[in-house]
Symmetry: C2
Amino acid sequence: LVLRVIGVVRSGRANRADTPVQAALNRAEEAVLEVDPLYAEALDGLSGFDFAWLISWLGERGAPGPTPALRQVPFLLRREPREIGVFATRGPRRVNPLGLSLVQVVEVDGNRVRFAGVDLVDGTPIVDIKPYVSRFDRPDRDVRCGWLDGVEVPDGATPSSLDAAGPDSRPG
Amino acid sequence: LVLRVIGVVRSGRANRADTPVQAALNRAEEAVLEVDPLYAEALDGLSGFDFAWLISWLGERGAPGPTPALRQVPFLLRREPREIGVFATRGPRRVNPLGLSLVQVVEVDGNRVRFAGVDLVDGTPIVDIKPYVSRFDRPDRDVRCGWLDGVEVPDGATPSSLDAAGPDSRPG
């Protein structure tokens, strides 16, 4: 299965360690998705939606590398630490390095989508954009969210801030 | 960018025309995701989540085919009809044929995930599973949903039911 790159994110974030781990934890920051002009027409109608999903590619370009560890310690569990299967985490080192970011659509101008909610580093390739549809994308009730229900999820949390918060890095 | 198939859906739906267009419109029906045993370990922890995202591959296997039309009439607008850019629709004929389905996790047993909410035909390849996390995946307010705000979205709607409802198919 071969994917095309449909656009590239232009954000103020240069490396993943200092980039918030989820768009929802960094709602105010803005960035731009530059869609390949070849596909600009496909944005028609997107500005009517307040939110959209960006499906991103978080790995190297080209053929798949080696499979990552199937159980990993999520950034948010670095304090414990506790391993979780990667299909039960939102971490970037996955069997297929796809990211799913819920962003606020601020403005669509030609092939440029300005959005708020940044968890992607500058240059991240995007492979799909889908409108957020409440009827489709929201469970009809409050739901259990597994290991995340027991974890503090601080606004703006980045891999390095979560690492620094861990017991190992405390002085003494 | 090359994707691995991580599993295959086993559902009671044989063709897309008679399959509901969104999992949310078919919440009661169940199906099974058979994960490649190679990756079964990655499911560890998923059963603690009530809902999960399935990222599916809705196209042919192999190299990308020709780019589909960038503006299309969504199934739900067949009555009008009205064309919308594919990045503002959830339709399957996209630049990259990726699907995003929100399903209820019913049971995880070894490499099998039983789920409720079926919009995928039998044999659909899955390329990623992500847990649904309310904090990450829910806008913090009611949001505009573009052209979908003005459209009736009947439970169980399939491409053929929506076609049959169109003016062109009425007798006379």
